[in-house]
Each structure stands twice: as C-alpha cells, then as structure tokens.
Assembly symmetry: C2
Homo-oligomer: 387 residues x 2
C-alpha cells in the first residue's frame, strides 16, 4: 500500500423525500443562488417546482442557468461565470446528473478567478478560491456529487479535460433514489457502465497489498451488477435505485483509491472519442473498456483472475490463468450487451477516419495509464479493436 | 435501506513517515497545544521526541497531559479541561490509541462548556462548541481517529458512557503503520477483536436491501482476519499493520452504517463489565460476542448464514441454516482463541457475583440492541454464558 491522504467533507443526505431538506441546507450559504440544470427534464418531473419552493421558503434570490449539455461545454461555464459576477451569486445549486454538477464546479471556481476557467483544465492555473456549491442529484453515474473533480468539453477546440480541487467539493449532496425513477433506460444503462468503469480504473492496478481496497471495489461492482439489471427491468424499484445511487457515489468518493496507483487510461481514450463525436460517456466506456482489458490483462494476469472469480463467479477449475482472465473480460462484455450498451463504435456510426487524431490527442501530455503505459500506437490499437 | 446522513470531515494522512507532516498539519490551528498521551510508551519508542520536534519546528507552546488510562477516566478529562482553561489552549493533540483520543475529545468539548464534561455522557448537555483536535494514532483498534465519538469511564460511579458530536471529529489523523510495530501482542489481539466487534455491531442488522453496506462490512472482516494473524506473527510486517490500521478506521468512520439500523448491545454489555473490572475492552468483547451471536442468531438466521459462508467460507452443502450459522459463530470463537483472546470471564478471574448489577446497568435506559431487543434477563443470560 502506498502513502495517501483521504479527505472528503461533502455531507451526503440520502433517502426518500430528502429534497424537503434543501432549504435548510442552502440557508447557511447566502441569499443569492444560481440554479443550474440541464435540458428541462426537472420541469417535467416536478423537481424544479419542489426546488423553487424550497428556495422561496428561505427567501433567497434565484438566478437560473439551464441547458447544460450531457458533455458540459466550456461555453456554458462561461455563461454561468458571467451570471455569478453580474448577480453577485453566493451559492451554486446544480440540480441534475454529473454533467450539471461538473459545470457548476467549473463555474464556482471560474467566478472567483480573473481569467478563463479553461485554464484550470489545461494546468495554466490552479483553483485558489471558489463559490460554495451543493447538489441535488438525479442520476446514478458520475460520483461528482461527492468529489472535487469535473470534466469540461471545449467544443471549439474539440478537447475534453478535467479539473480538480478540494475547493469544489459540494458542501452537501441530496440523493433521493425516487428522483432517479424517471431516468430513461438508456441513461440508466450509461450510468451503470460509468460507475463500473470508475471502479475498473482504480481496481486494475499494479499496487500490491491492498486487500481492503480490492474488496471494496469488488463490493461496488457486485452491487451494481445485481441492482443495475433490476433498475433497468423496473425503473421504480426503490431499493435497486438506492443501491445504484449509493454505489455510484462510493465508486468515486475517495474510498477505493486509498494508497493505490490508479489507471484512468480508458477514460482518457473515451474523452477523445466523445470530444469529437459527442457520444454519451457511458456508451463510449462500454465499447472501449473490455478492449482495454483484453489489450492489457497479461501485464498482471492475477488481478484479472481475481476479478473473474470474485466478481463474475468464474469457476477456475481446470482453466489456465489466461482462460480465467478472459472469461471475466467476456462476462463484462456480455453484461454490457445484456443491459443494452453498445459494443462497437460502428453501432454509433463512428468510423475509423479519426483514430490517428484521437490517439494523438490521448497522449498529448505523454503516455497514459499505469497498469500498462499506453503510447499512441497502443491507444490506436485499442480504438481499432473498438470499431 | 433507510434514509441517512453521511458526513466525515477528518483528513486522514496515512503511511510511512507521515509524522513528519505533523507540524504543517497543526500550524493552522493556533499557537498553544495540549499534548495528550498515555503511559509513556511513546517516550520509549521515540515518538514523543519526534512529536516535540515537529511542534517546536512551528514554534508553538506545548503543555502536556500524560497518564491517560486504557479505559480513559473522567478524572483525566477533568485534568485536561483545567489545563485548557488555565493555559488558553488552542488545539489538542492526542498521541496514542483510542483511549487517548477519546479522552482528548471529551477534553475538547469540556473546555468549551461551563459545567462537567460528564454531562455529555449522561445526556444532561449537548456539545455546542469544542476546541479543535488532531491525532497521531499508534494502535489499530477503536476508529476514534476518524469519527466524532468517545467513551469515558466514571470510576467513582463505576459507569462507562459515550459522547458524540460532529464538533469533535479530529481535524486530521496521522496513521503511520510503523508506529504500530511496537504494539505488544496482547494489545494487537485486543485491537483485532475491537475492530471485528465494531463491524459486527453494524453488520448483524435487521435492515434489508443493504447489499453494498453488507459487502463493505464483510470486506473489513476478511481483511482483518487475514492480516490480524500476520501482524501477530510478525509485528513489523508493514503491509499487515497497514491493512489492520486502515480496516480499523473504516470499521467505524461511517462507511458501514449508512441506512442501517445498527445494534451495539454487546458493546453496552461489555461496558458494564469493564466499568466494574477495568479489563481491556477487546478482551471483554472477545468473550461476550460469540455468546451474543449464539443467543440471537435465530432472530434472522439468514444474516448469520451469509456471515458464515462469505466471511468464513463455511461450505453450506448438506447443512441446515442453523448448522451453517452455528459453524460461522464457532469459526469466530476459534479465531479469537487462535490469536490468543480469552473465551471466558473466568480466565480474567471474574466470577458471577456482579451479574445482576451489570445486567441492571446495561438496561438502565431501557432494552438494548436492535437485532434482538435485550431486556435485563437476556443480558444476564449472555453474561452467564460468558462465565
């Protein structure tokens, strides 16, 4: 186990009816609130009205930024920063999924920075101050509700990059499983893949002697696998939705990577695909991850053997390590297919003409990943396997 | 799954050599520090000198309170409160195991309260303010390094009671596995039992549909079982000590009880035993817990079946549920015996003459536990089984 720091001050408020506590939770942070949301589904479900009623109950002034994209764009961040400055915003309240929360984090930091928030994504600047934010989550997926990270798409430059700071941890996050009942099937599927992928990035590691972290990761995977299928079958299954929601948070709230060298190459590759084609992040991950696994598993076959046996109950009797590992990888692909996730870029009408550019961009700051360091040629090969 | 709140702002600084960061971590909190420790083992190991050197490096004034008892006493808390007031202490730094940290929490709250800190343990007063504290942990056991709870013994009244508040979460906790290399065998054993018992109290629940929380609990148990024996065999096994240390923290940092109705009856019973006989908490738990299990398992046999199969790899083939459950309970007792923990109160020279009083005290505020509600007669029966 390597040395590490663990710090996560987000207060999670989890369960049925917890939106009813929004007013009380926002109140300590000021009187001028920027409400951030996406395409308007929160108006159809009635959540928008609930939120406004909570905010009006504490007498705060509300400004709105709507239309945040599924891959949140820098242009939306710019709009939010402008509102914050013009309207003297005290507190940012994203209501939605990870993209809305990610945009809110970039806005929170951008509002306190005398420059372009994109600088935080390129490393040109570090976040030194930020407006406080709190979230109402409507989708089990990104884990952004309980961490200090965000991913932003710069559509003009066709780049998708992350930012991170302890200053943009949400002060609170409200997680009501009932708010996820209306999530459409395809978004539920993408969320499941997203959560599992977050775990993969931290679980397939070369770090040894991390038995607790490995078991925690396997716990999240098994819980998502079981409850994902239930939530797809019946979107109003409270317990399935609750278990998915909690798993999504734990997949990326700092519990799994303690003392572990994590990978994140597949996320890097997927970001290049969705930066150009604007496909859902989860769909891209479903396509690429099993191919990454096949490409790298021999670097440390025992980790993939453990994955196959513990997570997928592959019977090791009479099989070689390679066979066991490959059976686990195939089980992953089969599960993604069973829940309705795509298996090839072709299914999303993406051809091979941009592979070079994507591979080039993926390694623009150097080789990616740690389980196996991937150079441009490796990335291109994984993308070819994904066509 | 029930509704819940999760909030844990303690910063964990984990790994080799992390005491070297103590100065930097203490500095933001003021200039007058109360160093709290136990019987002087930190002087023998050189940790005391390291700590003082870190504190002198940041130029703070240090006052000391030593001699904190293994079951920390109210009289020590009173001494600490007095020093804090007289010396205008800004920050409390417990260096030691859970008892030292628990005492520091009570002192931190007592120093800001115009009355007796014992009032927090009886419910006469709530903690409304507290001095900040940060810890250097030297023992894998209580989890007190990353939560807001403490247990204090009132030796005059022969009572052992808890206090809890979000205001006494440590600001930081330094966990260096090497600091636990010198922990004697018996204390290592007690720590292992303590950690496992914390998990038991949260795992043996009547709450359903908590698959992630159950798996997390099983993860901690399996990790402790494996690494406990290694640490006992070779006290300087870094990885074993690190895995125990991290498991101890996760057993009681709020990860396991999310949305779960927990039990804590066995801790209640043990507190009555150690309030009278001043035995190590872990020894008391090792004696009582398997007897509690046998007494209650039929209330929800499936939870004990799952425990036996998943944690102890009991082969369920051809066995009844009762047989599987009892095999898991026996495996628990066998493990405790194998690592050298006591199995009966008789081994600690405790007879049956105070059973009535202990049972009476255990239920003084009403029946205890939730897996099975225990009245006085139940507690007495469990204690009789433990003689």
């Amino acid at each position: 186990m390597n040395n590490f720091e663990l710090y996560n001050p987000t207060k999670l408020v989890f369960g049925k009816g917890t939106v009813g506590r929004l007013g009380e939770l926002v109140k300590p942070f000021g009187t001028r609130v920027l409400l951030v949301y996406g395409g308007g589904s929160i108006k159809r479900t009635g959540l928008y009205d609930q939120v406004l009623s909570q905010l009006s109950g504490i007498g705060v002034t509300v400004r709105e930024l709507s239309g945040i994209e599924p891959n949140p764009r820098l242009s939306s961040v710019h709009k939010g920063v402008e509102i914050c400055r013009k309207e003297n915003i005290d507190f940012i309240l994203p209501v939605g999924g990870g993209s809305v929360i990610d945009a809110a984090k970039a806005i929170a930091a951008g509002a306190k920075y005398d420059g372009d928030a994109w600088d935080f994504c390129t490393g040109k600047a570090q976040i030194e101050d930020a407006l406080p934010l709190g979230t109402v989550l409507t989708l089990a997926a990104t884990g952004s509700e309980m961490n200090g990270n965000a991913v932003i798409s710069n559509w003009e430059e066709k780049l998708k990059r992350g930012l991170g700071s302890k200053l943009v941890y949400p002060k609170f996050s409200i997680l009501d499983p009932e708010l996820t009942f209306t999530v459409p099937r395809d978004q539920t599927v993408n969320g499941i893949v997203d959560i599992m992928s977050h775990v993969f990035e931290q679980y397939f590691s070369r770090t040894t002697d991390i038995p607790l972290q490995e078991r925690f990761a396997e716990s999240v995977l098994q819980t998502v696998i079981e409850n994902g299928e239930k939530a797809i079958e019946n979107g109003s299954d409270y317990e399935a939705r609750a278990n998915l929601l909690l798993s999504g948070t734990y997949a990326l709230n700092g519990t799994l990577p303690n003392g572990v060298v994590t990978d994140w190459a597949t996320h890097g590759i997927e970001h290049e695909v969705s930066a150009i084609y604007d496909i859902p992040h989860g769909a891209g991950l479903a396509i690429i991850f099993p191919n990454w696994m096949k490409y790298v598993y021999q670097e440390r076959v025992e980790r993939f053997v453990q994955y196959a046996v513990r997570v997928w109950n592959v019977d090791p009797a009479g099989k070689s390590d390679d066979e066991i590992a490959l059976a686990g990888i195939q089980a992953t692909r089969d599960y993604f297919t069973r829940i309705g996730a795509p298996a090839t870029l072709g299914e999303l009408n993406i051809g091979g003409d941009q592979l070079d550019r994507m591979a080039e961009e993926a390694v623009r700051y150097g080789a990616i990943g740690s389980f196996k360091k991937l150079e441009k040629a490796d990335v291109k090969r994984i993308l070819e396997l994904s066509l």
